[in-house]
Amino acid sequence: MGRSTKTVKRRKGILGGLALVAVVAGLCWSLLVAPPDAYQGEVQRIMYLHLPSILTAYLSYFLVFIGSGMYLWKRDNKDDLLAHAAAELGVLFTALTIIEGSIWGKPTWGVWWTWDARLTLTAILLLIYAGYLMLRSSIDDEQRAASAAAILGILGFLDIPLIHMSVYWWRTLHQPPSILRPDKAPWENVHPAMLTALAISFVGFLLLYFYLLSLRYRVGEMRQEIKALRLERGV
């Protein structure tokens, strides 16, 4: 194993360790330190998962958008690898967001699911990027698969502003944003102990995300190297 490979592995290990510490700190703060909500009670603690999950998913789709755009422009495989890895993680975090929302919805709204504008648009987002992954695996020619997926990856990103604005544009059951509001700063709207729990949880999700992304990206990179070596040897 080369020295640089060892350094990269050590960095990944450090990032993974930091992510674990931050996630555990976020869990402890969210479940033990943050006070219960005045109206919703203990069930509001799901917010400390729900909001970081969807923000991580948005970040992931932003990377898909950037990677896809760069791939269509420069035709560099590394951009496509980034977009592919980010799309897979985006699907994971979007699915988790929908599940958490559903569990939170049952005691607060009385239903597991409703065809509310924000929920429906989030479900569409999940379907678009699940479709992105299926599209990639259904086309044999790698360049064509990457190009088609890049176009879908860019178009799919347009759903995110719709999701964010849906609570303003339509009458929805989903509450308007508490943190990302244009009229109020987060600390004017949320109790400091709740905001701290949310911040720690979000940092934990971010570190975990970048750790998983680095692993997933390396898997894609190694697969390409394997394919190139096999081609070279005519296997």
Partner: protein
């Protein structure tokens, strides 16, 4: 189900799903690493034989 039941269910599913994804990703990572190592070493052996 009480409020803590819903909270536990949400936290349990998220932790379980992320752990499961990490475990499967690690398996894919290790498999790709082993395959790459095998291909590189067999290539090095072939080059050595040629020289």
């Amino acid at each position: 189900m009480g409020a803590w039941g819903y909270v536990s269910l949400a936290y349990g599913i998220v932790c379980g799903a992320i752990l499961m994804y990490w475990f499967l990703l690690k398996r894919r990572y290790n498999a790709a690493e082993a395959e790459l190592k095998r291909l590189r070493s067999s290539e090095a052996a072939a080059n050595h034989d040629k020289s």
